[in-house]
Subunit: 522 residues, 2 copies
C-alpha cells in the first residue's frame, strides 16, 4: 500500500477528518525540523506502522512522521499541532511490536517520533541514577555504562532494542532489581500540549541537584500522570539503577507435573515478598505433546516445545549482591524447593561485571545484559521473518490456582483458534503479569485477524474474572478501559478532566489507553 | 481565645471573607452529620488548631469543625461546601504537630476532620496489604494485626498516635520495610470536590480483587496526585505491608568524632543501596558540650545531650528476614564498620513476633511497634506539657559533606536564636531527609515567634543550596513552593490547571503546599 492509499483510507475516519490541509501542515513542520525529518515516503514511513498489521490494514494508519532533533523542536512541533488541530501520536522507539509499534489509535495522526533524541545525559554512579532521552535503547544504555565501566546494573526486558523511556512510560518490566521500570522513574521533563516545558519533582527547582535522586518534591508527584497516558510528551527521564552486585546468581526451578504450578507459585510468593528472590522472576509454562497426538494444535505444540525453556513449568529466579548474602539466600531457596516433590533447582553464579560474551546466552537478560534471544528463537521456529505476534498480558493474583486457571483458558483459546504462543508470567510482589505472545504469519490477513480475535476473546474471558491487561495493543484500548466502570466511569471521567485541562484541543495521542478529550468521548 | 474571637480575627482575612453566612453553613452541615458532629464550642474546636501556635495566634484559624461518620456523609458535606463556596480543610487525625496539626492555611476554613472514619476494612495476610480509613492510627493498625496474629509487619514513624493514611498522604516516613509510606500506597478511594466518588487503579474495576495488590491499572496511576495536594478527600487507602520476618536485628553504629559524619554517611550509602541495611536508617547528631561552656546554647546543649541517643553520631540500622540471611548481612556490616576508626556497632536480635513489652523500648519503632517515646523524652527534658516544636525537614544529598554542612547550618541558626532541637536524618536510598525538631515553650508568644523565625531562616539558607523541605508547617507552604520556579513556575501552573479542573470552586484545602485555585493565585 502506498502512502497515498493509506491517506485515502484514513480520510474516511472521523479522527483524520480533523486533520487540516496536508500540505500546510507538512510545510509548517518542515520549517521546524527540516525536510529530511518530515517522513512522507512510504519507504520511511512504513516502520512506523503496526509491523504486524497484515497486508490489508486500513485502520491505525499514520498520516506521516515528524522527527524533531531537540527538545526545542519538539516544543515547536507541538505548538504548531496545537494551533492547527493536528493529532500527534508520540512514539519513542516504537519497538513495542506486540502492542502496535508506533501506530496511532486515530487514523491519520502524525507520528511524533522521538528517536533522534538519543542521548544519555548524565550518569551518577555514586547516587545510582541516569538521566536520558527517549531514543536511548537498552542496548545503548548498557553500552554506555560498559564503555565507561560504571558500576551500576540496568534492568532489561526480553528484547533490548526498545526505548528505555518508552518501556517505563508504558509500565514495562525487566527482570533485574528495579525491574518494575515505572517504579524506578525519578523525575521527568515534559512538553505540554501548548508547547510549554515542565520539569517534575526537584527538577522544578533549578538550583536542586536532586531531580533524579528524590521522587517527591513539595506538593504532589506527577511523574505517573505521564505514563500510559496522553497528557504530555516526555523528553527527559531520570531512572534509578541498582549497584553492580558482587555476584549474580540466576537459574530456574523446574517442575514437570501439570498441576505443579500450584505449589510452585505458592512456594515462590513468600520468597519474592521477603526479598529472598530478587528482581522479577519469570515463570513459564509449556505443555508436553503426547507422541500420538495429531492435528494443528499438536503440531504447533511440538514446535513450541522445541523453542521453549526446559520443563512443564520453569521459574527463572535471580539474586544479586554480596556473595555471602546470596549464598545464604540460595540455602533458603534450596530448602523450599526440596519441599515440592520432583522440583529441580539449577543456578549459575557469575561475577557482577560479567560481560555478554562470557555468560550463558539465556542468563543474559536476568543479568541485565540486553539481548534479542527471544525474538530470534521465535523466528527460528515460527514463520522466520514473517513472524508476527500480538500480546495478551493480564494482571492476575499471585496465587497458584489463579495461574492454573489462567493457563487453562489461554491454551484452550489458542487451541480453538488453531494458534500457538509463548506463555509466561512476570512475577511482581503481589500479582503476576501474564505475557502471552500469540504468534502468526504476518503476511496472511486471515491469520492476523484470527490472532487478534483470539486475544480479544482472551481479554473478554479474563474480564469476567475481573482481570485486565497491564498493556495492550492499540486496537484494544477502548475495550479494556471499559472494564474500569466503577461509579459510572469516575476514573475515566477524571482522566478526561485532566486531559481537557492539559490538552484542551486534544492533539496529543488521542485515544491512548481509552483516554479521549471531551469532544471525542462517546 | 474564644471561638468568637477567632472568628472575628478570621473575618479580616480574604479567605474567610469568602465564607457565606455562618448560621446557614452550620445548619446545612448539621442536617448531614447531626448536631453532635458540627463542633462549635471552643472546648471541642481547640484540638483542631495548631497546637503550638502560641497564645496570641490570629492566623490559620479553623472557623469550626465538621466530622462526618461515613463516606456518604463526606460526599454530602463536600457537595454542600462546593455549592456554598465554603473552604474546607481536610484533616485525618491532625497529629502532625510540628507542621501545624489540623490548622488550615486559609483563615476561617471549616476543618473537615475524618477521625470518625476509623475502620480497618480488610487485611490480606497472604497478599500482604491492608485497606483502611483515615482515622486509623498506627496504634490502631498494630493492635488489629496483633489481636488477629496476622503475620505482617507495619512501618511506624516516631510517634504512633498519628493517622496511617495522613502520614502516607503527607509523604511521611517510618523505619521498617516499606518505610517510605507513600511508596507503599496501592489504591485510593477519593471524594472529589463535586462530591463524586473515585476509586483509583484496579479499584475502578468493581470485579477486580487487585485494588490493593497492583499499583497500576490501565492508563495513568493517579494515587500520587492526592498526596501533599488538595485535589480530593481520600476516604480509603490500600497499603502494602511486609511479611513478619523470622528475626529483627536492630541497633546502632556510634561514632564520637565531630568529623566522623563524613565517613559514616559514605559507608552507609552502598549498604543502604544494595539492601544490606534494610528499612530506613535514622542518623542522629548531638553535640557534646564542654564542661566549662556557659551561656544559653551550652545549657540547652547539656539538656539535649541527656535526652539524646548515645554518641556524637548515632546511625540506627535494621535488618529483617530469615535468620541465616540476616546473619550474613550482619557479617558484611561488621566489616564495613571496622573500617571507620573508633566506630562501634551494637545490635540486638529479636524474634519477628516480639511484642511491645518484651523488646527494649528504644528498639520498638524500628521493629514496627508504635511508641510515644520521642515525645515523652522531649517533654521530660524540655518544658513538660508546654513543649512545642516546629520541624525543619529538608531533603539533602546522601553525601557525607552535605550532611556535615547541613548540621553546621542548623546548629549555628539554633545557637543564634538561642534555641535547641533534636537533629536527625531519615535515610532514603539516594537522599537523606533532615528531621530537626526545633523546641520551644508554647505558652510564650515570643518563643514561638523566635522558633518560627529560626526555621524560616533555615529554609532560606537551605534554599540557597537548592535544598527544599519534604514537608513543612502550613505557614511556610507558599515560601517553599516559590523554590520550584523552573520555566516560570511551570509545575505550579500545572498544579493549578489540575486544581481548577478537579475543584473549580477551590473549596478543598486552598493553599495546601502552595497550591491555589486560579482566582486565589497571586
Amino acid at each position: 500500500m502506498t502512502l497515498n492509499q493509506h491517506m485515502r483510507a484514513a480520510s474516511s475516519d472521523g479522527g483524520a477528518a480533523r486533520v487540516p490541509e496536508f500540505d500546510a501542515v507538512v510545510a509548517r513542520f518542515t520549517e521546524v525540523v527540516g525536510p529530511e525529518w518530515v517522513l512522507l515516503d512510504e519507504g520511511r514511513v512504513s516502520e512506523f506502522r503496526d509491523p504486524f498489521e497484515g497486508p490489508d490494514a486500513t485502520e491505525h494508519q499514520p498520516r506521516f512522521v515528524v522527527q524533531p532533533g531537540t527538545v526545542e523542536e519538539v516544543q515547536a512541533v507541538v505548538r504548531i499541532a496545537n494551533e492547527l488541530g493536528v493529532p500527534l501520536w508520540t512514539s519513542s522507539m516504537g519497538r513495542n511490536f506486540g502492542y502496535g509499534g508506533s501506530a496511532p489509535v486515530v487514523n491519520g495522526s502524525v507520528v511524533l517520533s522521538l528517536r533522534r533524541l538519543n542521548r544519555v545525559l548524565e550518569v551518577d554512579e555514586a547516587a545510582g541514577y541516569v538521566l536520558f532521552e527517549p531514543g536511548v535503547t537498552f542496548f545503548d544504555l548498557y553500552e554506555e555504562l560498559r564503555r565507561r565501566d560504571i558500576k551500576l546494573a540496568i534492568s532489561v526486558p526480553d528484547l533490548g532494542w526498545g526505548s528505555v523511556m518508552g518501556n517505563a512510560l508504558q509500565h514495562g518490566f525487566g527482570y533485574h532489581q528495579h525491574g518494575i521500570h515505572a517504579d524506578a522513574v525519578c523525575g521527568l521533563e515534559v512538553v505540554l500540549a501548548d508547547g510549554d516545558l515542565l520539569r517534575t519533582g526537584h527538577g522544578a527547582n533549578p538550583r536542586s541537584t536532586l531531580w533524579q535522586a528524590h521522587k517527591r518534591g513539595f506538593g504532589p508527584t506527577i511523574d505517573n500522570l505521564f505514563m500510559q497516558s496522553n497528557f504530555g510528551v516526555v523528553t527527559k527521564m531520570g531512572l534509578w539503577l541498582a549497584p553492580r552486585p558482587e555476584v549474580i546468581t540466576t537459574g530456574a526451578i523446574i517442575c514437570e507435573g501439570d498441576d505443579d504450578i500450584v505449589p510452585l507459585v505458592e512456594m515462590l510468593r513468600p520468597l519474592v515478598r521477603n526479598g529472598t528472590v530478587q528482581g522479577l522472576p519469570l515463570l513459564a509454562g509449556t505443555r508436553y505433546v503426547p507422541d500420538d497426538a495429531t492435528g494443528v494444535a499438536a503440531d504447533l505444540g511440538r514446535r513450541l516445545r522445541k523453542a521453549a525453556r526446559p520443563g512443564r513449568w520453569n521459574a527463572r529466579i535471580s539474586m544479586y549482591g554480596d556473595a555471602r548474602i546470596v549464598a545464604a539466600q540460595q540455602a533458603v531457596i534450596e530448602e523450599r524447593v526440596a519441599e515440592i516433590p520432583g522440583a529441580k533447582l539449577t543456578l549459575n553464579t557469575y561475577p557482577g561485571d560479567i560481560g555478554p560474551d562470557e555468560i550463558e546466552v539465556r542468563d543474559r537478560v536476568p543479568a541485565g545484559i540486553p539481548s534479542m534471544l527471544l525474538l530470534n528463537v521465535m523466528k527460528e521456529h515460527f514463520y522466520g521473518d514473517n513472524l508476527g505476534h500480538i500480546d495478551f498480558s493480564p494482571i492476575i493474583p499471585f496465587e497458584g490456582q489463579a495461574a492454573a486457571k489462567h493457563e487453562r483458558m489461554v491454551t484452550s483459546v489458542l487451541d480453538e483458534f488453531e494458534l500457538t504462543g509463548f506463555f509466561s508470567w512476570i512475577v511482581n510482589s503481589r500479582t503476576m503479569v501474564g505475557a502471552c505472545m500469540v504468534l502468526f504469519d504476518r503476511t496472511s490477513a486471515e491469520e492476523v485477524a484470527r490472532a487478534h480475535a483470539a486475544v480479544r476473546k482472551m481479554c473478554d474471558l479474563a474480564a469476567e474474572w475481573g482481570w485486565t491487561e497491564y498493556r495492550a495493543h492499540i486496537a484494544l484500548g477502548d475495550e479494556i478501559a471499559k472494564n474500569f466502570d466503577f461509579n459510572d466511569f469516575a476514573l475515566s471521567r477524571t482522566y478526561t478532566k485532566i486531559k481537557d485541562a492539559l490538552d484542551p484541543n486534544g492533539i496529543l495521542s488521542p485515544g491512548s489507553h481509552g483516554i479521549w478529550p471531551s469532544p471525542m468521548r462517546d
